[in-house]
């Protein structure tokens, strides 16, 4: 036996019986001593055990490393194949929505009117199935108008407010708004055109945006926005569809006044904001389910005090 050999007996008393000066295992782990060299220093069982321990230690780190990279790949994969339209949430409001669609189509076919207008009230969403199989989800306090008669040849809609479109492939699909037009062939995108705010987010396919001055071509996750006639801003979005579909409104660096008007159209309230700075920028989201939580999330973070003086009237003031 070699002098340093670690047979099982002296392993049991490692710290006393081993040569105090030994450091060869440290050198081996660092790579300064080769496996073959180690093999000649210890018994075969020990050698195999050390190899396994080394591999085990390396694997620990790998197994504990971040899983973010895989998540990115999963998201890529999901967005690539999301042409397969996902089933909508089995939320209770859908039944109401379905009922109102039936009602609308029924009503209009009786009246024999070609122009169809669909409006949503405070806090209401509507899902509209178009003749070609395309789908529109209309956010609250929005209006959508289109001509049913020549729909097959002329897929043009007029929108005031916010809506999410899932367009079946076919002829050009145009969304007209006061702030500009959006043209696509088959894709999913969100358009928000409320007074002087204009925002288009592309979730799939290609979207062409025409404004008075310029045209833009959006690819998935691209987005353009114009606030109050300023120059167009571009940014990237994440997520497979707009958050408001899931009962939440999200904002990214938007002047507070647009957040306030979104709150008003969601909850049928009036917010009196003359005592605060409406130009301050807000990033965040609010829920559509509970007014108090929504007010808290928006205004607490900006350190704005809010009081409901009379029913449906919220007054804002700075602290």
């Amino acid at each position: 036996m070699k002098p340093n050999c670690l047979n099982s007996r002296n392993l049991m008393n490692t710290e006393h019986l081993n040569n105090e000066k030994d450091t060869f295992l440290a050198e081996w782990l660092e790579g300064k001593l080769s496996d073959t060299a180690l093999k000649s220093l210890v018994s075969e069982a020990d050698f195999n055990a050390f190899l396994k321990i080394r591999k085990g230690i390396e694997t620990f780190e790998v197994l504990d490393s971040s899983t973010d990279a895989s998540f990115e790949k999963i998201q890529e994969n999901i967005t690539q194949k999301s042409t397969k339209v996902r089933k909508l949430n089995p939320n209770s409001w859908l039944i109401g929505v379905a009922a109102s669609i039936v009602l609308f189509f029924g009503l209009f076919s009786i009246l024999g009117d070609d122009m169809i207008t669909i409006e949503t009230n405070y806090g209401e969403h509507k899902t509209i199935a178009l003749l070609d199989g395309s789908e529109v989800i209309l956010n609250s306090k929005s209006t959508l108008t289109y001509n049913e008669d020549d729909w097959e040849s002329n897929r043009t809609l007029n929108l005031d407010g916010e809506a999410y479109f899932k367009v079946k492939k076919g002829s050009t699909f145009t969304v007209e708004t006061q702030n500009g037009n959006v043209n696509v062939l088959g894709t999913q995108f969100n358009v928000n055109s409320v007074s002087d705010l204009f925002e288009v987010i592309c979730f799939e396919g290609k979207v062409s945006v025409q404004t008075k001055n310029e045209d833009y071509l959006l690819l998935p996750t691209n987005s353009v926005r114009r606030i109050n006639g300023n120059t167009i801003e571009k940014w990237e979005t994440s997520g497979a569809n707009p958050t408001w579909i899931h009962g939440e409104s999200s904002f990214k660096s938007v002047p507070l006044k647009y957040v306030i008007s979104a709150l008003e159209s969601q909850y049928q309230i009036t917010i009196h904001d003359k005592d605060i700075d409406q130009k301050q920028i807000y990033t965040g989201s609010f829920t559509h389910k509970d007014l108090n939580i929504a007010l808290k999330t928006v205004f607490k973070s900006l350190q704005i005090r809010y009081i409901e003086k009379e029913k449906g009237n919220i007054y804002l003031s700075t602290k």
Binding site: D22, A49, K52, I53, K55, L63
Partner: protein, 170 residues
């Protein structure tokens, strides 16, 4: 509110499920595949499947769903590999360590190793973690702890001996 948060089709819910289970699931798959790249592939496939079926999977049963899908995906891969091997006329079971370089890391071994490292004497553990986890060279550790490089190496050496002793027959 809770109903909406529990819906897996909600991308935020999906992400939070991923954050909650991904690491454990990857570990679980690794013990089967013994290959971290394959484990990552199966992890991704499993979560893509979850997304495809997000409307059908109940939030309460998502964990067992993930583990079942991952196991099945693994078994399918093994099946496929066996067919390939049969074709190549070399039927070697993937999970036996017949090749000399292949070292199988069982779950029990890894858990034991973890426990052993955690019960190392404080001084050895300190050096060991600085070197293995924080990737510091012996020299850097010596400077940090204000001891000689030789002392660092001794502690490292002892740490390995203690681990070897505690881990016993493997």
């Amino acid at each position: 509110m809770t109903k909406d948060q529990d819906n897996i089709c909600h991308s935020k819910t999906f992400e939070s499920i991923y954050r909650k289970y991904a690491k454990d699931l990857r570990r679980f798959i690794f013990y089967k595949t013994q290959d971290i790249d394959k484990a990552e592939d199966i992890l991704q496939e499993t979560f893509i499947k979850l997304w495809d079926n997000c409307g059908k999977v109940n939030h309460e049963s998502v964990k067992s769903y993930l583990y079942t899908v991952a196991s099945n995906t693994f078994l399918n891969i093994v099946k496929h590999e066996q067919v390939v091997r049969k074709h190549q006329q070399s039927l070697v079971n993937h999970t036996t360590n017949e090749s000399p370089e292949f070292i199988m890391l069982e779950k029990e071994f890894m858990e034991k190793l973890d426990r052993t490292i955690n019960t190392l004497p404080e001084k050895q553990k300190e050096v060991f973690l600085l070197n293995r986890i924080e990737k510091k060279k012996y020299k850097e550790i010596a400077v940090q702890l204000d001891i000689s490089v030789k002392a660092v190496e001794k502690r490292m050496h002892l740490a390995l001996l203690v681990i070897r002793r505690d881990i016993g027959n493997i």
